[in-house]
Amino acid sequence: MSRTRFRFPSPLIVVAFILAGLITLPLLYVIVSAITADTAVWRRLWTTRIPELLFNTFSLALSVAVIDLVLGVSLAWILTRYRFVGSTVWNWLIILPLAIPSYVLAYTYTFLLQRNGPLEHAWQMVAGADAQIFSPFSFAGATLVMSINTFPFVYLLARSAFQNFNISFEEAARATGASPLNTFFRVSLPMIRPSLMAGLFLAILYVASDFGAMAMLRYQTFTYAIYQQMTGRFDNTAAACLSLFLVSCTFIFLLGERWFRQRSRFYQTTGRFRKPIPQACSPLQTLGFTGVLTIVFATAFGIPVFLLVQWTMDALAAGELASGFMGYVWNTISLAGITATLALVCGIPLAYLACRKQTWASLLCIQGAYTGYVLPGPVAALAVLVLVSHLMPELYGTVLVLLIAYLVHFLPVALQGMESTLHQLTPNLEEAARSLGSRSLRTFRTVTFPLVRGGFLSAWILVFVQCMKELPATLLLRPVGFDTLAIRIWLEASEELYQLAAPPALLIVAITIPVVFLLLKKVQEPVKRKA
């Protein structure tokens, strides 16, 4: 028998530390440059920009949250508690809006809502020839676009909450004499509050960190302002100050979310519970529900995608498809593929550490690696840009810089997927293999890997899709002439060349749709396993 020193975790810890350090370094750099900035910069920003940006961001997030809540909860209620023709199909259709990047949705709505545009014409038929509707470049426009883009988050969480709801609670309420409506507001809704809050937090975070739609709609929020400081004024210091402010707000917001989640855990009182059985509907109800669902679906997905298809066909018919189109596709796919692979490779030691060796050191590494979460795209880009221009200026303008930014930004996505996969795997399996004489590598190859393969693959796909849609970091860091699909959409749409922007947008939507269904399957999976 050979004797070896029992220091197995150390290389893992070292690798994880280096990775976490590399990931957090850019953010630290931004923080330092914001803190050491001239107080005059801060004063100027505080008097000119910050109040307006705060107000815009908050009011938009709040109004989007309210609309999301109403849409998400009512649709989830309809689709979990009622059974009607097509209700299972609607279950799938209604989350499709998640497949449209916010900037693509924004650009279709700049067309739909424009002066003398299709929606205004339609409205004039109802309200008279002089009637006007709101401009896309307004608070109302931004609210509309962001809420139809994000309501599926609330819907998904509300739906799984309603599905796992112990119907006995409602029956107990009814037995005490409460009306169905009363029961809904006093029992059902309060009991799914944790899920609703989780959905809302997700939607608000999405709004606060969105760049593409805000820039398309010229609606001034933090992310857009940071971008403008960097590109319009070439003032990275001011951008860093705004970033620090935004990141701090996000951080406090996330802490609040965690605090809320810990406080408000509701438990089903018994292990076994009765699930709700969907009710059959009358024809009138069916008609009503189908109407509501059709309107929401058309607004959030149907009409925009119909437009994209039409424009794409126009562009193809006119032979206007950009000559370098295949090149853009290749750029996008290779960049996203490399990033997803890198994120997975870097994520394995971190995720493994998080699940198997819980010490303060590993906790620190994981938290470090997750900082990408509080970094909206432009901030991640700024962070990497500032760091690279100080330390390795010769790298500036190469694809490498873009890759680093992607990695910082998207590692958390990969990490989350891998962590939850590894968590489902009991360490006993690996220990059993080792007690049967199997070395670490063989154990990983024959036991761990076959069992986590599926979960890791879906983490890879999620990162791939997010990279494919990425706009702000790409816009700020790409080498000259290196265009991706997202960049082409942005450039053509900014010139209001709707037909030219459509083919890449349609391609992105088409690739994203199966991924959205994968996401839905993952949301449903734990439910099935428990049943």
Binding site: R3, E431, S435, L436, G437, S438, T446
Partner: protein, 357 residues
């Protein structure tokens, strides 16, 4: 005290003053020493958090030893400086949740540790193990297609297939229905004896430890309280904790007078060589007492639990203390009846009086 193991069998496992810290979230253990000879079944018994699983994992190599030495077949495999990784120890382990590989069929699970053998030998060995455990018809199934008892047999077959030096079992019956547990205990005991397997079994159930083991190690708060045969553990517990953990035990105060222990239920013989204070607490097991003559007497029947094979009576003494007494299944006394108690124990177990009793 048992007939199972002649004491000239070679020592397979030896723990010398083993200490593990609680770095990894497992309870710590301090200064644990015991040995297992070839063919012995050792049971690690104790309440949850006492360190019995940590001890098992230290033997397997999943926990590192801070101080002391673990020896397998006389070779040190772990001490403060050296650590042979689990895969090189040839120690089989059956996990509490069995940890069957969900993506492998039963045959592949059982054959997992046999990759050094040729395909032909491996298949033969797997077949042997499956027929030994009565699973020959289930080889092609996946773990989730088996019942709890079958899964446990697969886990056992898998652990035994590479012919380990030692087999470790972590609460192997905790996931089974009670009636299944009873059956599997007997099966496992016979199988281990038939294959002359040295085994260490973790349990929190003293009945399980007594029926399965040749030697019982009682652990409490990370320390070994007693290492002895089941009979000794029950009749001559080394500490109050052991006395109470391995069965019903009442304590009544006694005083030493002229080489006898005087208590309110009678005089008991003083153990030889006792040198302590004169004030002691005497341990009374239900089978140490018998009820004599109902109608008159100083003890009052307060409770009765009918347990099928016996009646367990709770008796209130004059002093207000409660003691328990087991009587045969058909022996019936009415509640509140006054009865006389007689001590029938031939030996006395006593501890110096603690302050709180």
């Amino acid at each position: 005290m048992t007939d199972a193991t002649p004491h000239d069998n070679p020592i397979v496992l030896e723990l010398q003053h083993v200490t593990c810290s609680y770095e990894s979230g497992q309870p710590a253990i301090h200064n644990i020493s015991f040995t297992a000879r070839k063919g012995d079944i050792i049971s690690l018994l104790g309440p949850s958090g006492c360190g019995k699983t940590t001890t098992l994992r230290a033997i397997a190599g999943f926990e590192s030893v801070v101080e002391g030495t673990v020896l397998l077949n006389g070779t040190p495999v772990a001490d403060g400086n050296h650590h042979v990784p689990p895969e090189q120890r040839r120690v089989g382990m059956v996990f509490q949740e069995y940890a069957l590989f969900p993506h492998l069929r039963v045959t592949d699970n059982v054959g997992f540790g046999l990759n050094q053998l040729s395909a032909h030998d491996r298949r033969r060995r797997v077949d042997d193990m499956l027929s030994l455990t009565g699973l020959s018809e289930y080889g092609h199934r996946y773990p989730h297609e088996l019942s709890g008892g079958q899964q446990q047999r697969v886990a056992l077959a898998r652990a035994l297939a590479p012919q380990p030096v030692l087999l470790l079992l972590d609460e192997p019956f905790s996931n089974l229905d009670p009636d299944m547990t009873y059956k599997m205990r007997g099966e496992l005991h016979d199988l281990l004896k038939k294959t002359q397997t040295t085994a260490v079994l973790v349990t929190h159930d003293h009945e399980e430890a007594f029926t399965m083991a040749d030697q019982v190690a009682v652990l409490h708060q990370g320390r070994l309280e007693q290492f002895a045969s089941p009979e000794t553990t029950y009749h001559l517990p080394a500490s109050r904790f052991v006395a109470e953990f391995v069965g019903q035990a009442d304590f009544i105060p006694g005083e030493i007078h002229h080489h006898v222990v005087v208590t309110e239920i009678g005089d008991l013989p003083l153990p030889q060589g006792y040198q302590g204070s004169n004030q002691v607490d005497v341990m009374i097991r239900p089978d140490d007492l018998e009820i004599r003559g109902s109608g008159s007497g100083s003890a009052r029947i307060e409770t009765r639990q009918f347990r099928g094979s016996e009646n367990l009576y709770g008796l209130r003494l004059e002093s207000g203390r409660l003691v328990h007494c087991s009587e045969s299944s058909t022996q019936f006394y009415a509640l509140n009846a006054q009865v006389e108690l007689k001590v029938k124990a031939t030996h006395t177990v006593m501890f110096e009086q603690s302050r709180n009793s």
